[in-house]
């Protein structure tokens, strides 16, 4: 018998089942099909300004910084200002995201490059798929638009998120993922990011910038 058959047979012996029982198969199929939500904390179940404020509070509690701009046309200037105020080089790497590409980068003196990170970029910008107010988390999906290396290799990671894409809870974002990628389908990775990289491994003292970005800056586009 193969290892696979052995393991499954052992599980079935322990559970006292054959694996062919219609009732069990139906229960499993049902759960996979309907994905019951469970208990959703009331905290995130707010809308409009309140939700945005919660997102901001939670993201800042996780030590991210958050700025709001009125429209996507304001993003480049806002980012240039952020980099300058932290004495960071005026360079920025990004993927092929059309929303980012359409922004007026030429209004700034930023040196823009495109593609995944090869490890030399200090600053990168990604466009989030969404956000979750409950914990101030950003949701990013992999692809040529926003390569996932940009989330982890640069020292300073800037994430642009549209206010309308900030949901109250994770479950709402999963609904959008299903709508975009098809039921049961997923991009190669979905990254939930809540604050900058950190480690508490030395004497349980929390230090920022372990392996990933030392800074996480979020630009919320209100429009």
């Amino acid at each position: 018998m193969s290892a696979r058959d052995d393991v499954l047979a052992n599980i079935r012996r322990s559970l006292g089942v054959k694996g062919t029982e219609t009732i069990r198969r139906n229960i499993v199929a049902e759960r996979l099909e309907h994905a019951p939500k469970g208990l959703i904390p009331a905290r995130g179940q707010v809308s409009g300004e309140e939700r945005l404020a919660l997102f901001k509070t939670q993201a800042e509690a996780a030590l991210a910084t958050v700025t709001e701009v009125a429209s996507s046309a304001d993003v480049p200037l806002s980012i240039a200002l952020f980099l300058r105020s932290h004495n960071l080089p005026a360079s920025l790497r990004m993927g092929d995201d059309l929303r980012l590409k359409a922004m007026p980068w030429t209004e700034t003196a930023l040196d823009i490059s495109h593609g995944p990170s090869e490890g030399h970029d200090l600053n990168a910008v990604s466009h989030a798929f969404g956000g979750v107010a409950e914990t101030g988390s950003l949701v990013l999906v992999s692809g040529p638009e926003n390569p996932s290396t940009l989330n982890f290799l640069p020292d300073n990671h800037i994430i642009v998120v549209a206010a309308k894409d900030i949901a109250g809870d994770y479950e709402s974002v999963w609904n959008r993922v299903r709508f975009t990628f098809g039921k049961g389908g997923m991009p190669r990775t979905v990254n939930w990011i809540t604050g900058p990289s950190r480690s508490g491994d030395i004497e349980q003292t929390m230090l920022l910038g372990a392996h990933g970005p030392r800074r996480l800056h979020v630009v919320v586009v209100s429009e």
Partner: protein, 477 residues
């Protein structure tokens, strides 16, 4: 595979740990840090207790249908272009991983934190076959330099102080300036970051564990704060996920429910920094990511725990809250437990995985205070499960003769209530009288094991039963 364990020498390990001043200093960080942070996080979320119930129910449901969820998961991984390998035991898993690494022509392998990797001792196996494994979680990296086991499941180097880490870095990072300043923890972190950056890029294969596997989508989930697990899986050509079979959950919603209690129970964070959902290898249009995606599913004794007294242990999500709150762990640290899993969860899991004959001391090293159960996010009745192991140990005549004869002696009286009352009344009266002035004993016959370390408090002269009877009478009147 020969299991390397010092669990049979638990008593000796514990005595050494108690005398180790460096360790005792470091263990102070556990008590101070984790307990308060978890409490605050739990208090901030009104639904926390309800989410614990939900997490428990999801895990129970999955375990009841584990065969079917594994089949569904496997089909989904294959559909997304990944490979699934079942491993009956550690040897199977080691062979599978080695052959994937060989196929990839691997010279170095980066690793995210994985307790299963410790369980199957994959590092030694790779090394013996000419492949260099590099741990990338800061804590794991430190203990790899020291050739030690993790002493905690989420804070592997919790037994060390910064000065010890500094010494290790100076010893190993020989090409760096010997006069560099490493007096601050942040300098140690920065150095490790720079050293490991090069290793991330050089690696041919990345091995990560998994906090959850999602049947609905064929997704593996890792949760980290450092981002090391992500660099481990996104940069090399091949990503291997090493996970045990009980990591399955049905859907993304189920995973999200449990994620809400995981970080809060572990570090007191509302959510860990990086929660990563990986499904298959890079897609045709992707600009980065691994070209090959393998999942190794390890059984190693777990299927036999299903349907047994120990099934509930399979709900464990490895948050570490039980050890963070355990007075025994606080006193002796993780290494004394002698194998991969320390603390209360280790005291239940270790005998299941390596045998109660080797690990019988662990479920005995408990005060049964119940704090572990009171904080477990999936409500595992850890004290009850430890008690089951004590029964098994007794049934199999593994307990020492003096212990057994002591129990038999007590049993003789316990089965004769009148005699029991008479003898205990006489004994408590005598002890109460003898200790009436000092209130405690420095020495007692047959109690050297106790009085060697602390005084024995003198009884008040009355037995519990007698007092109970007296006070009940008083109430009734």
């Amino acid at each position: 595979m020969i299991v390397h364990t010092t669990s049979p020498q638990f008593k000796r390990n514990a005595a050494r740990a108690l005398a180790d001043t460096q360790l005792q200093k470091a263990l102070g960080n556990v008590k101070q840090g984790f307990i308060d942070k978890r409490r605050k996080a739990a208090e901030k979320l009104p639904e926390f207790e309800g989410l614990r119930d939900s997490a428990r129910d999801i895990k129970n449901h999955t375990l009841e249908h584990l065969d079917l969820y594994l089949e569904a998961y496997e089909a989904k991984v294959k559909a997304s272009g990944g490979h699934v390998h079942f491993a009956r035991n550690a040897d199977d898993a080691r062979d599978i991983i080695l052959s994937i690494c060989r196929e990839a022509g691997a010279k170095t392998v980066t690793k995210g934190k994985s307790m299963i990797a410790e369980e199957i001792e994959i590092n030694g196996h790779l090394q013996a076959n000419g492949i260099t494994p590099v741990e990338t979680d800061l804590g794991e990296y430190i203990i790899q330099l020291r050739n030690e086991l993790p002493s905690h499941i989420i804070a592997p180097a919790v037994h060390l102080n910064a000065t010890q880490v500094e010494q290790d870095f100076r010893r190993v990072h020989k090409d760096l300036d010997p006069k560099r300043d490493l007096s601050q923890p942040v300098q140690l972190l920065t150095e490790a970051r720079a050293v490991l950056r090069e290793r991330f890029f050089a690696a041919d294969v990345g091995i990560t564990g998994a906090n959850f596997l999602v049947a609905e989508t064929g997704t593996s989930i890792i949760v980290t704060n450092e981002g090391n697990g992500d660099l481990t899986q996104v940069l090399p050509k091949t990503h291997i996920v090493l996970a045990s079979i009980e990591k399955l959950v049905p859907t993304l919603e189920d995973a999200s429910q449990i994620l809400r209690v995981l970080a809060r129970s572990a570090t007191g964070q509302e959510m860990s920094v990086y929660t990563t959902f990986s499904t298959g290898p890079r897609r045709a249009s992707d600009a980065d990511g691994p070209e090959n995606y393998h999942v190794v599913l390890l059984d190693n004794g777990r299927s036999a725990m299903l349907g047994s007294d120990f099934e509930e242990m399979l709900r464990c999500i490895r948050c570490g809250a039980c050890m963070n709150h355990c007075p025994v762990y606080h006193a002796v640290g993780g290494h004394a437990y002698g194998w991969v899993y320390p603390g209360p969860m280790g005291a239940v899991l270790t005998p299941s995985l390596i045998g109660v004959d080797k690990a019988g001391h662990l479920p005995n090293a408990t005060t049964f205070c119940g704090r572990c159960e009171s904080v477990c996010p999936v409500r595992i009745p850890l004290p009850k499960l430890m008690r089951h192991w004590r029964e098994r140990e007794f049934e199999r005549h593994l307990t020492p003769a003096t212990f057994r004869s002591g129990l038999a002696f007590w049993g003789f009286f316990a089965k004769r209530p009148a005699l029991y009352r008479l003898v205990t009344r006489a004994a408590m009266g005598a002890l109460g009288f003898a200790g009436r002035h000092r209130g405690r004993f420095k020495w007692l016959p047959l109690a050297k094991g106790w009085t060697k370390y602390r005084d024995f408090p003198a009884p008040q002269g009355e037995t519990f039963q007698a007092r109970w009877k007296r006070e009940r009478k008083g109430k009734a009147a």
